[in-house]
């Protein structure tokens, strides 16, 4: 277990080591294609160095997958098709964006629910306060310096 941990550490957790081999000049047709490649590979997770994007990882598999993504782009595949290709082989985990499906409703809608619940609590408290006896209007002692 420790040896494996050391292996991951060496390859993946020295990210600056990562960059040296993550730099992979590819023959793009134009700048727009290059930008598309950069965005796409930044949205994909490296299966081996799992805290790095495909764009930044030095792992051998990242190098291969970048080449694969590039070739598929040149072959005219869409972003969705490329992502589906990788998901079929490496599972959903290779996407940084969690899908929106029943198993992830808590994730996607939880904050919204919390916001609404909190909003209700705030509204109740504000209402309660407003109903209190008129201390609400600025009194003579409150100068502008009661900022």
């Amino acid at each position: 277990m420790l040896r494996r941990a050391l292996f991951w550490l060496l390859v993946c957790c020295l990210p600056a080591l990562a960059l040296a081999q993550a730099i992979q000049p590819l023959p793009f047709r134009d700048h727009a294609e290059e930008v598309r490649f950069q965005h796409l590979s930044a949205e994909l997770r490296c299966p081996m160095c799992q805290n790095e994007t495909l764009a930044d990882s030095n792992a051998p598999i990242a190098h291969d997958l970048r080449r694969q993504v590039f070739e598929m782009m040149q072959a005219g595949k869409s972003d969705d098709e490329i992502k589906a290709y990788l998901v079929d082989r490496y599972s959903r985990f290779v996407l940084y964006s969690p899908p929106v499906e029943p198993s992830t409703w808590l994730l996607w809608f939880g904050p919204l629910v919390l916001l609404v619940a909190g909003g209700i609590v705030v509204a109740i408290q504000v209402r309660r306060r407003a109903r209190q006896t008129p201390d609400a209007a600025p009194s003579a002692a409150d100068t502008e310096d009661d900022w």
Binding site: R4, P47, P60, I61, D64, R89, Y90
Partner: protein
């Protein structure tokens, strides 16, 4: 009563963390469950290591279950796994296909000469493209493919005696039960 909400929320969090600590002792966080389990193995056709004219493809391997072991001469963990490949895995009686992954053929041959060759046949994927089809991302990895060419089990990382007993033998037993 509502004042206790933060406290109970926290207790839930503690339960989650306790679970996390326990789960960590049982699992390797780096493993990604393969989406290919119980799906047909990708079609492949690769040259044999050292005999470029001879090719092994998926069709030729149908009819009997076999192990596909991803290894390379640059892979440190493969050295640790190799003794089990030579003994325990061989003793299971199934064909062992070596999948030489992104390797230099001479280095691979030398490595097998040095450490021993448990494989019935070794195929070479120099570029790693077939590896991508199998969802390989690191060596060593081992697949169990059944008689119909369906992937039934995948091990990411070296095979240890525990893995052999806890996971591989039961997987084989399940296969055998299906057959009969």
């Amino acid at each position: 009563m509502t004042r206790l909400v933060p406290f109970f929320g926290f207790l839930l969090l503690v339960a989650l963390f306790g679970f996390g600590i326990w789960w960590n002792t049982q699992h390797d966080q780096h493993e990604i469950a393969s989406p290919l389990i119980d799906k047909p193995a990708p079609a492949y056709a690769l040259p044999v290591l050292g005999e470029a004219q001879r090719t092994v493809d998926k069709a030729s391997m149908l009819g009997k279950p076999y192990f596909l072991n991803v290894f390379a001469s640059w892979c440190i963990e493969c050295v640790h796994e190799h003794p089990i490949m030579m003994t325990g895995m061989k003793q299971l009686g199934l064909p062992l296909v070596g999948f030489n992954y992104k390797d230099d053929p001479q280095a691979a041959t030398a490595w097998l000469d040095q450490h021993g060759n448990p494989f019935d046949v070794v195929i070479a994927d120099r570029e790693g493209r077939t590896g991508i089809d199998f969802g390989v991302y690191a060596a060593p990895e081992t697949f169990l493919i059944d008689a119909k060419g369906v992937i039934r089990y995948k091990r990411i990382g070296p095979i240890t005696p525990e893995v052999l007993d806890r996971e591989i033998r039961p997987a084989l037993a399940a296969l055998a039960k299906e057959g009969s």
